[in-house]
C-alpha cells in the first residue's frame, strides 16, 4: 500500500514538484526551439516520453551491470539505441506520424533531461519506480512544452494547434527564438509566483531567486 502511494507521488513529482523544464530547468534548448506552436511542443513531448521511459527501464535493469566509471557512455549509448530503434520502426510503419515527428526524434539523444534521469534516478532504483519516473517526467516535459506552446502560438500567431482564433498576430516576436526566451522566463516566474503565493513553495530548486 505504502509502495503504491510512493509510486503515485513519484508520478506527480515529475509533473509538478520536479517538472523538467520549469523546476529542474533541464533541456531548455528544445523547450525554446520547438514551442513556437502547441502541436510541435506536444509531438516533441511525446517523443521524449517514449525515449525517457525506455531508457529509464533499461538503465534500471542494467544498473548492477554497468560499471560506475563508464556509466555516462553506457547511458548515452542506451539512449541512442532506443532513439534509433524508434526512428527506424516509426519511419517504416507509421509514415504519417513520422512525417510530423521525425525531425524531433533524432535530437533526443543529446537531451540533458534523459541523461539526468538515468543518472539521478534509474541507476539507483528498481524497474517499476524507474518506469513511473520516466512516464511522469515525460508527461511533465510534454505539459511544460504545451504550456509554452499555447502561450507563444496564441500571442505570436493568434492561433492554437494551427487553428486561427484571432484575426491578427498580436505579438509576432513570440514565435521567434527571442520570444522563446521571453516566454520561458515569464512562464517560469509566473509559476514560481503562484507556487509561493498559494502553496508556500520556495520557488524553483535550480533557478535561484
Amino acid at each position: 500500500m505504502s509502495n503504491n502511494t510512493s509510486l503515485g507521488t513519484l508520478f506527480k513529482n515529475g509533473i509538478f514538484g520536479e517538472n523538467p523544464v520549469f523546476r529542474l530547468a533541464l533541456s531548455l534548448c528544445p523547450a525554446v526551439a520547438v514551442t513556437s506552436g502547441v502541436k510541435n511542443g506536444f509531438l516533441m513531448g511525446i517523443a521524449v516520453l517514449f525515449v525517457m521511459t525506455m531508457t529509464n527501464v533499461t538503465v534500471s535493469l542494467l544498473r548492477n551491470f554497468i560499471n560506475p566509471k563508464v556509466r555516462i557512455p553506457s547511458y548515452v549509448f542506451i539512449t541512442a539505441t532506443w532513439v534509433t530503434v524508434i526512428d527506424q520502426v516509426m519511419s517504416a510503419y507509421q509514415r504519417d506520424v513520422y512525417k510530423q515527428m521525425g525531425l524531433y526524434i533524432m535530437l533526443i539523444v543529446a537531451f540533458a533531461i534523459i541523461l539526468s534521469r538515468a543518472e539521478m534516478f534509474a541507476s539507483k532504483n528498481k524497474l517499476l519506480p524507474s518506469f513511473v519516473d520516466g512516464v511522469g517526467m515525460g508527461l511533465g516535459f510534454t505539459l511544460a512544452l504545451m504550456l509554452l506552446g499555447v502561450f507563444r502560438e496564441f500571442l505570436g500567431k493568434g492561433s492554437l494547434w494551427g487553428a486561427h482564433i484571432l484575426p491578427v498576430k498580436p505579438l509576432l516576436i513570440m514565435i521567434m527564438p527571442t520570444g522563446g526566451f521571453f516566454a520561458m522566463g515569464l512562464m517560469m516566474g509566473w509559476l514560481n509566483w503562484i507556487d509561493r503565493r498559494f502553496f508556500g513553495g520556495a520557488g524553483a530548486s535550480s533557478g535561484g531567486h
Binding site: S36, F65, N67, K69, I78, S91, I175
Partner: protein, 195 residues
C-alpha cells in the same frame, strides 16, 4: 590490468548488444521503408497529373542549385497530359523541395512542396494552400514575386519573403526547363490545331 578488463568488458557488451539490436531493426524496417517511400513518390507524382493514366516515368534530369533533378512526362495512352519536374529553391534556412506540373499549354497545373526546413511559424506559411494556389494557371512570364496585392503575379506571404522567394525561384526554374524541353512540341501541336 584486471580493473581495466572489469570496466571495459561490460561496456563492450552493452555496445555489442545495442549494435545487434540496431542492425536487426534496420534489416527488418529497411524494405518496408523503401517500399513506402517509393509508393509515396509515385502517389505524389500521380497527384500532380491526376488525368494521366499511364505510369509516370522519369524522362531525364536537369540541374538546379548544382544538384540533379528529374523531370517526367505524364501520358494517357501515349498522349501527353502533363509535364512534371522536381525542383528546389533556396529559402531562408533550407532548400525547399517541390514538384511542379504544367498543362500541355505550358500553364502551371499544380505546385506541391515535398520537403523543407523553414522557420516554424514564419517561413512555413508558404505551405498554405492560399499561397501555392496563386501559381495555378500562371505562365512562365507571370511567375514574379511581388510584395503586395497582385492578381497577375505571385504575392509574397508577409513575414515569409525569403521562403516565398525560394518557392517562386524553384518553380520558375522548373517551368523554364520544362518549356525548353517540351515547348517546341507544344508549338507543333498548336500549329496542327490551327491547320
Amino acid at each position: 590490468m584486471k580493473d581495466m578488463i572489469k570496466i571495459t568488458l561490460p561496456l563492450v557488451a552493452i555496445f555489442v548488444v545495442a549494435g545487434i539490436i540496431m542492425s536487426v531493426t534496420y534489416q527488418h524496417t529497411y524494405p518496408v521503408r523503401f517500399q513506402a517511400e517509393k509508393k509515396e513518390k509515385e502517389e505524389a507524382l500521380k497527384e500532380m497529373a491526376p488525368d494521366a493514366t499511364d505510369p509516370i516515368n522519369p524522362a531525364g534530369t536537369w540541374t538546379a542549385n548544382n544538384k540533379p533533378y528529374e523531370y517526367y512526362l505524364a501520358t494517357s495512352g501515349g498522349k501527353p497530359m502533363a509535364y512534371i519536374a522536381s525542383t528546389a529553391g533556396k529559402g531562408y534556412s533550407s532548400y525547399i523541395q517541390m514538384l511542379v506540373s504544367l498543362d500541355t499549354d505550358l500553364k502551371i497545373k499544380d505546385v506541391k512542396i515535398l520537403d523543407m526546413n523553414e522557420t516554424p511559424g514564419l517561413g512555413d506559411q508558404v505551405l498554405e494552400q492560399s499561397f501555392l494556389d496563386q501559381f495555378k494557371g500562371k505562365s512562365l512570364s507571370q511567375i514574379v514575386l511581388i510584395k503586395g496585392e497582385t492578381k497577375e503575379n505571385i504575392q509574397a506571404v508577409s513575414g515569409a519573403t525569403y521562403s516565398s522567394r525560394g518557392v517562386t525561384n524553384g518553380v520558375k526554374d522548373a517551368v523554364q526547363t520544362l518549356v525548353d524541353k517540351y515547348g517546341a512540341g507544344v508549338k507543333t501541336a498548336a500549329q496542327e490545331v490551327t491547320k
